[in-house]
Symmetry: D2
Subunit: 347 residues, 4 copies
């Protein structure tokens, strides 16, 4: 009954097999190999567009590096106050950008809206060189609270950003879960909606350590390769990241894994909603469930072996009763049902 994080789940069998296969023979280092080239071409297919792709091992690296080529070091990045870049990367974006400022913005279910963004920008009128000039809007898809932006929502957000001179960064640590949930094309919630650079996560969804930074305008990525190297994020044996992606993107594996996690979260959410004293606080649209429950119930579940964490953020509307439960591609119906049974007896 592990609902602690999708990161606990390890890797899918197909991913491990691909890594082992990639080990046959010698191959050029630092991404000069054929496998890396194939993966780049595959991303162009997936996104129906010529894109520049850079593979790294962690989401923090992907976000930080992507932001570092999107804002100058004195620029401002608008993000949700519960976003990963703001809450969970220990000042990573500030480090990679050389000191850019993050402006945290409120919003239900970790979502931003044109209204909250416009309100935030109102306080920062152009008065160079005093205030940090807003340069980037950072969105997370699916959000840190398990919600999903629809294509139309993204188009409105990106249009506002571009109108104000901001570029749009998308933290897609759970991009696969969003695509699976929306049953749309990857392009629909990325460049077609106005996203400039996407951090396409794969680690949480069955890879070992694999994230791709995807630039929809090749020119915008001009010096990314230098920055990745400088930050120690270019592997000498880069083919081992590429191998993960080759398998991940083959025959829809990535969407099958995500759909599985989403379905388990749905089952969990529906079940919990029916339990006395439990409230589903944010809509369960991807693979995360945010449930408010009595402390006694949370304690009883943990004593019985369930693993999940309280969700403490500046925006918590429940006064400390909020918990996050995450499903992964490895979560089983038995896991879910056992937790639900426990919850019902603790109610």
């Amino acid at each position: 009954m592990i609902f602690a994080s999708d990161n606990w789940a390890g890797a899918a069998r197909e991913i491990l097999d691909a890594v082992a296969r990639a080990n046959d023979g010698l191959a050029p280092s630092y991404g000069g190999d054929e496998l890396s080239a194939r993966v780049e071409a595959r991303f162009c297919e997936i996104f129906e567009r010529d894109v520049a792709v850079f593979l790294v091992a962690t989401g923090g690296a992907a976000n930080g590096l992507a932001l570092s080529v999107t804002t100058p070091p004195y620029g401002m990045i608008l993000c949700h106050e519960e976003s990963h870049v703001q809450m969970d990367e220990c000042c990573g974006p500030e480090f990679f950008t050389g000191g850019a400022k993050l402006l945290p913005i409120e919003g239900f279910a970790a979502k931003l809206s044109p209204e909250t963004i416009a309100a935030a920008l109102k306080g920062f009128p152009e008065r160079p060189p005093h205030g940090a000039p807003p340069r980037v809007l950072s969105l997370t898809q699916a959000t840190e609270c398990g919600a999903v932006y629809k294509p139309g929502e993204l188009r409105a957000l990106c249009a506002l950003a571009h109108e104000r001179g901001l570029r749009v960064h998308m933290d897609g640590a759970r991009f696969a879960n969003a695509v699976a949930a929306l049953d749309c094309a990857p392009a629909d919630i990325s460049w077609k909606a106005g996203v400039d650079v996407l951090c396409f996560g794969a680690t949480k969804n069955g890879c070992i350590a694999a994230e791709a930074v995807v630039f929809f305008d090749r020119d915008a990525a001009a010096d990314f390769a230098f920055r990745r190297k400088r930050a120690g994020h270019l592997w000498s044996k880069q083919r081992f990241i590429a191998a993960q992606f080759e398998a991940y993107l083959k025959d829809g594996l990535w969407l099958r894994l995500a759909a599985r996690a989403n379905a388990m979260a749905r089952r969990l959410s529906d079940g919990l909603a029916a339990v006395d004293g439990v409230e589903i606080v944010y809509p369960t649209e991807a693979n995360e469930v945010f449930a408010a429950m009595p402390a006694t119930m949370a304690e009883a579940l943990r004593r019985a072996g369930a693993v999940f964490y309280p969700w403490a953020t500046p925006g918590d509307p429940t006064g400390g009763r909020l918990h996050r439960l995450i499903a992964s591609f490895r979560t089983t119906e038995e896991d879910v049902d056992r937790l639900l049974a426990l919850a019902r007896s603790a109610a």
Copy 2:
């Protein structure tokens, strides 16, 4: 009728004379001169304590450098959302600290309270190494909205900060105005209240370019000298900053200049409060007046030659009708009365 900024006022005569006097003879460079040593001793007297003092030319440098030795590069600085470090230094604190995060917090009149700080911290429980660990509370005295913290308020804020393991930085760009307003000892609103490092401003209050970073614990300043040099903020002819401070701190000049500015702001605030359609939005406790007025009135005043700026911030409670009018040591009663007469006719 210049109410644009105390920075428009130039320098007091005594300050200029001191600079000219400091030019006699040759003197060791980079702060090795006798005048610099005398000024350091004078600060110890003013603050009734052994302090470490470093002189620089701008408030942005003082704040940035002070913060850089107070937080590690991955630490979090709590500040008001309208504070100068957040709104007006173009990512200076992020630059000097090497990437620390500023957490902007709301509050009336640009003031923080134990309640708003505790609420902000609640969203950042200890979970190393994920969230940026809170390390500094930054307060501004007088605040950017012309309010003044009383000694008791500061003691409560600093106690909370220390209890949570944060150190306290005070942006004292208008420290003189606060001391003059409270009629207290400088120590009462600095180290005796719990402030760890104070940026003691003098530029806005009659100097050319003179700010002092005052550490109340000498050990906390250990590597400040290297950081000041690295940032290009050690003058080769450092005695010319020291000369300004010698005059500024002599015979209470600093408090006389500040009291003058405060009195003019008070006269302006009282006069405006009596004008139809004008509302004094924040209490006028130092040398700044924040007045909401109809757009037609603001326009009429500006056409007649008055200079002052709208005050657009994330926290503006007036929906865009808020204006800031600042008095300086050079503001005259005639300036004030002329503006009041114009406001009355525009009402």
Copy 3:
């Protein structure tokens, strides 16, 4: 006939198997798993001392992070002018440290000596805060030119560094090759010789992506965890790095792999030395051969399928005829002998 880099070789079978095994079951993320704890304990055994160990994926990350906790951002790092930190990390050390300075020093075979270090330091007498204060001596073992420091040499270098107030960083990307070559205990060429922090490489010697930063004084590593996270170098599925190390350090695998590579380099070096027109420029003490050869010979070898690179550095004593040939754990006697035969016919 790949002699381009040990990075071309992929991973040893035992390493891949260990990664696959680590995938069984779910495990805490971000290094909170049991396997990570076991590996830390294993490092204490290997080094016969209580050490603090941090696992990352690349040598650039290991070096940069290790240096960032060893020098302040205004400090100076002494290194060889051909060292990896100076030549091959695209300003990584400057990035991670927040702006420290590298002082490149000459020396045969990429080795530093007490004499060259003392000479370099002579130009930087203490005159705070002007010059960047020397804080770290960075050594590479084995060196970038395939030489190995003997324990006595290291003791002399570290003694000089400590005497001058510098700490000692060792870039051990090929530490295994050095231990295998010297047939000594790991402690003999690390902490017993005076090394303060070691970047213990495993990637080049048969891992996928695995490097360990080993602090011999636990206190010196105080904030490493925050810095690793901030830089995006903490994996969410950290156990997959730990798994590589468990296998690498088990039953002497790491030394067997290194000994194999060393032996192949020795065979290659001895063979080439006997070829007319070829000169072995630096002593072949680990797994790298530095050979000066006529351009026609290099061309002939490459046409026949051999892969290796010219070695262009500021210290090249051959005027452009120098080539680097690297052996890995996968290099075979057939590879070597085929290259030698080709060289002889091209002579």
Copy 4:
């Protein structure tokens, strides 16, 4: 008998008077004043070209900021191993650029030559993204060892730099001394020779604190204003720097002050050259004299009240007997002759 530094000399009377005059009336802050605009126009006249000018208070700030817009944070700056940016700014260039690398190069009298630059570059062939790509050549005029580059020398150096894709930064802390020595137009040793950005020093030559960063291509300065603000180097009362420059550049004051200092250095150099046991090590071409003398003589001079410093650098060819004596605009013939008399008696 102060020959310690030109920084000991304080300010010229005309400079102080101009500062006092600038204090009349109120004026827009942060450089929005008329005086600042006039000074910018004056620089265009002086350099016979449309230039972008930014005023700051220190040479370290000027160099650091100029470099920060000239190289990306992962770029390499070629400079002399005794240059101020390398030896005397406590990692300032690394700080301002966000981590660029300085490559120190040898050369007599702190001068670079096409040969030494080409040799240095040879070790850094293009192999992105591994080595830091060379992006800037930094020259000092007059050099830190009192030598002066002739226009033809500069043209050759800049041509080589541009050919290799580098831009040229000139540290002109003693630019006035060089212009006075060469009796050329300022344009001849700046943009006409190929310099891209010049740090035009005035502090050492009679100002209080005044340096100008001059971009000969306006576009290259695009984001300088943000970077200056971020670093705390935009004064709120910026007109007080502008006032210094107005006087400095009026009626040739800057060249008269420099010529005076140069003449005194010449007198000192000629005199010392005739003293037994003294050797003038570098040609005295500006206002600095580098003399090797017996330790007993140096000691005798200091006992008698002379102030000057030993010159310890990596490039010292005298084995520790080298001393630097600097003349300023305030140095008198009596000062010089008294020192010469003492030297003769100590010989």
